[in-house]
């Protein structure tokens, strides 16, 4: 388990290596939106096709950040259910109630994992797009010796 988190975090209760976060979901989403906007700005403003591609990578990273933040939120819900199940067990609640809570916890854990998995897929997509994009840039550069979008206007109107 991510043991090196202990460097950052004092264990809250009895050696539990919990990922308690102090910052808000909203700040994560705001950061994500900001990076997405910066990326979009880059695509619009830059005339160098390579920088446009890099800006698109920024946008993809922003998407990943959003996914991971929301995944963290889901995991938090799952943890709430787990805690509730533990509490119910301690209070001697009926077995099916506990099973229900545990099932919910499992569902939310899975849905939380989906977010991170989507992030992984985005990395794969980004890699594929970057590889193909750069190959096209090289192929184009060999003929026209330019990467400026203002030179790429032989077709218009």
């Amino acid at each position: 388990m991510n043991a090196w988190l202990t460097l950052l975090e004092t264990p809250a209760d009895g050696g539990q290596l919990a990922g308690l976060v102090g910052f808000k979901l909203a700040s994560c989403i705001a950061l994500s939106c900001a990076i997405f906007a910066i990326g979009a700005w880059g695509v619009l403003a830059r005339r160098n096709i390579l920088l446009m591609l890099i800006s698109i990578e920024l946008m993809l990273n922003a998407v990943m950040l959003a996914f991971v933040s929301f995944a963290r939120m889901r995991a938090g819900v799952a943890a709430e259910y787990t805690a509730a199940a533990a509490k119910a067990l301690a209070e001697g609640a009926p077995a099916e109630a506990i099973a229900g809570l545990q099932a919910k916890s499992a569902i939310w854990t899975t849905s939380g994992a989906s977010g991170q998995i989507f992030g992984l897929f985005i990395i794969a997509v980004a890699a594929a797009e970057a590889a193909v994009g750069l190959a096209i840039v090289i192929s184009y550069y060999r003929h026209r010796a330019t990467v400026d979008t203002r030179d790429m206007t032989t077709m218009k109107f």
């Binding site: 979009a40 619009l44 403003a45 979008t149 077709m155 218009k156 109107f157």
Partner: protein, 744 residues
């Protein structure tokens, strides 16, 4: 395999349990024979000889005429099959008293998707049967004529291919049993018209004229399509009448939940009996199942009359816009005179006798719907009259022989719509029929003249042709008499009766009475002008001295027999066809439509006018009208004869001294004509022409073009080719969508 085929064409493989069946199977031959002719001429034109391609085309048309005649006779004579009640209720008694058994052939389902169904079906009732006979009959004669007229053309086979294709499309339009099939024919005739106008496409102007015709027609088609959609929205069907049993049986095979007992829109219209004072609409003579049926398609069991009437009125208005395009009515008429760029037999067949009357046919076909909206009918009458007088005035000053006839066609089409607007649909069709004869005759005669004059079309360079071309002269004289409305010719019967109905309307119609009087007056003036310009044409062409140059003069000859035989045949019809009037006029509900008499006692049960009294009233009106129309026709003829035959006047003739000669002349009538009437007419016609050029050509046609070009140019600048700019477009689009959502 057989099962599959049976699924697809249930009509074909149905067992003959019906007397009509074999004739119904034959019905499809009427359009298919010309199609076969087209295919032969289109795909084997390199291998068959010129004579063969002309013969194939003519034979195809003639055989179609034969089959049509057989089917028509079968319908007219066969009274054994009791399928009375196609127009259930409303006209049932009349159908029984004079049974014409409509044929309804069903060949399969064309499209059944999205809750909407269209069949391959042909429907021959008196209306479509008569139109079919005219189209194939006149068509055959014109094919025959063309074999002579086009004898020297290098694209002989292509010409006949187009002509046959036109016949196919026109017959589909006339015989189709639903609006979609009619629309396909409608577009098809437009396409053929375009191809034939631009037949000599090496001439840029002629190709442009073809394009103009096509585009003008498309504007009308827009209205037509919207009208179809409106009717689908109201009735949930595009069928005119209920498809025969074979069609209904097939839906079981299709596994598609078939609508309960399909009906046609005319069935519905016939069943809608009256509108009660509460504003609700109840159905007359329907059983419970029909009521359910209508509710299924309309959405509510009973729906307020005003919305129904509004919807029907809107549909009729839109359909009439389509008719305006096809039949060259007032704002959309401009393509027809230009269409004279095509070969003359084409002008005779398409732009005089058949295609341009498709609009009239469509209005008559759907007359049961038009009757629901008197305001639209009034509009139809107004447009018709305006077109009639407008085109007649322009016709007065034309010098191109074909242009005179073209404007005259526009004018006569106006009369047809006037009749339809007055509710005399059968008279409109009557005029379509007689007009087909005499106008085809006139065009073919003009073609014969042009042929003899080495392709000269300017009447100022003709004259004195009656000695060189006696047959053409006599037949054209007959045609001109018919067009002018000379008593006892075909045109007299049809046009005269139309005006009589309008006059009667002015006495009878409480809401629009004085308007009808105005329309009648305009109609009379138009009749006078018609007589005048017709005999102006005759005078300038056949009388006086020949004004052609020597080379042409030496070459003037009478046309060969293949061209004169159709002329003589058509002349016979132009003389005698009017005597059919008895069938149109006195038989109650001829063509399954109200007759002129009905316009008086449309509501006899309520008001209680005695039938005999109404008839007497009618005879009185008819006599009064007879006087006026005869005066107009004879006056016009006489004036023209005096000016152009006796005095040999040639407008804007060679040398300026013509006018001084005329002014020195003591003949005041001529001076009067020349100074006042002629100038006034010329001025008015010029004014109309200027208005036309200014409004239609400049404002509408060019304006739209310029606006299109400007917006296009503005939009083009957005397509800068800069990829960043495109990305900006994407971003702005995203912003807009997001923002709209934020607001919603």
């Amino acid at each position: 395999m057989l099962d599959q085929l049976r699924d697809l064409f249930p009509g074909w493989l149905a067992r003959p349990d019906h007397y009509h069946t074999w004739y119904e199977q034959m019905l499809c031959l009427i359009p298919l024979l010309p199609l076969l002719g087209f295919l032969i001429n289109a795909f084997a034109r390199k291998t068959i000889s010129r004579g063969a391609s002309g013969a194939v085309a003519t034979l195809a048309a003639a055989m179609a005429f034969g089959v049509a005649l057989l089917c028509y006779m079968a319908c007219a004579i066969d009274s054994q099959v009791a399928t009375v009640g196609k127009y259930a209720g409303m006209v049932q008694e009349h159908l029984q008293s004079r049974p014409f058994q409509p044929m309804h052939a069903f060949y399969g389902t064309w499209l059944d998707v999205g809750g909407f169904r269209a069949n391959f079906g042909l429907y021959m009732d008196e209306l479509s049967g008569l139109m079919t006979l005219v189209v194939t009959g006149v068509g055959t004669l014109i094919h025959l004529y063309s074999t002579g007229y086009m004898g020297h053309d290098k694209s002989y086979a292509r010409y006949f291919a187009y002509l046959n294709l036109f016949l196919f499309a026109m017959l589909l339009l006339v015989l189709g049993d639903n609006l979609i099939l009619t629309f396909v024919g409608w577009e098809g005739v437009g396409l053929c018209s375009y191809l034939l106008i631009g037949f000599w496409y090496t001439d840029g102007d002629k190709a442009a004229a073809g394009m103009k015709a096509f585009l003008f027609n498309r504007v009308g088609d827009l209205g037509f399509l919207l009208g179809i959609f409106t009717l689908i929205a109201v009735f949930g069907t595009v069928d005119y009448v209920a498809p025969p049993e074979a069609a209904q049986a097939s839906s079981a095979v299709m596994r598609v939940p078939a609508p309960p007992a399909p009906k046609g829109m005319l069935d519905y219209a016939a069943n809608i009996k009256r509108i009660d004072p509460n504003g609700n609409l109840t159905l007359g003579q329907v059983d419970a199942s029909q009521k359910l049926d209508l509710s299924g398609t309309v959405g509510k069991a009973v729906f307020p009359s005003w919305s129904f009437k509004l919807a029907i009125g809107l549909a009729c208005l839109l359909l009439f816009v389509g008719a305006m395009g096809k039949s060259a009515q007032l704002p959309l008429y401009a393509w027809l005179p230009d269409a004279m760029a095509g070969p003359t037999p084409v002008s005779a067949l398409i732009h005089a006798a058949t295609m341009v009357t498709a609009g009239v046919y469509m209005v008559a076909r759907l007359h049961a719907l038009f009757l629901f909206s008197p305001h639209v009918m009034m509009f139809v009458a107004f447009v018709g009259t305006a077109t009639a007088i407008f085109a007649a005035l322009i016709g007065l000053t034309q010098t191109d022989i074909k242009k005179v006839l073209a404007y005259s066609t526009v004018s006569q089409l106006g009369y047809m719509f006037l009749a339809a607007g007055a509710g005399a649909f059968s008279l409109a069709i009557f005029h379509v029929v007689t007009h087909a004869f005499f106008k085809a005759l006139l065009f073919l005669g003009a073609g014969s003249v042009i042929h003899g004059m080495s392709d000269e079309q300017d009447m100022r360079k003709m004259g004195g042709l009656r000695k060189h071309m006696p047959v053409t002269f006599v037949t054209m004289l007959i045609g001109s008499l018919a067009l002018a409305g000379f008593p006892f010719t075909a045109g007299w019967f049809s046009k005269d009766t139309i005006l009589a109905v309008v006059l009667a309307k002015s006495h009878d119609d409480p809401s629009f009475g004085s308007w009808w009087m105005a329309l009648y007056g305009l109609g009379l003036i138009a009749a006078f002008c018609t007589a005048f310009y017709t005999f102006r044409l005759v005078g300038m062409t056949f009388f006086g001295a020949c004004r052609a140059d020597e080379k042409t003069k030496a070459h003037i000859h009478e046309s060969p027999a293949v061209m004169t035989i159709p002329l003589i045949t058509l002349a016979a019809f132009a003389l005698l066809a009017g005597w059919m009037w008895h069938a149109f006029f006195s038989a109650p509900h001829f063509l399954g439509m109200p007759t002129p008499l009905d316009n008086f006692n449309m509501n006899p049960p309520e008001i209680g006018v005695e039938a005999t009294e109404a008839q007497e009233h009618w005879h009185h009106v008819h006599l009064v009208n007879l006087g006026w129309t005869s005066l107009a026709a004879l006056g016009g003829i006489a004036l023209a004869l005096v000016v152009y035959v006796a005095k040999g006047f040639v407008p804007k003739g060679e040398g300026g001294n013509v006018f001084t000669t005329l002014s020195r002349n003591k003949f005041y009538l001529e001076a009067f004509y020349d100074k006042i009437v002629s100038n006034a007419f010329i001025l008015f016609a010029e004014l109309m022409h200027v208005a036309d050029v200014l409004l239609i050509d400049t404002l509408l046609v060019r304006g739209v073009a310029v606006a299109t070009r400007w917006t296009g140019a503005a939009l083009r600048s957005l397509q800068s080719g800069l990829v960043n700019f495109y990305a900006g477009g994407v971003l702005v689009g995203a912003l807009v969508i997001l923002y709209l959502l934020l607001l919603s």
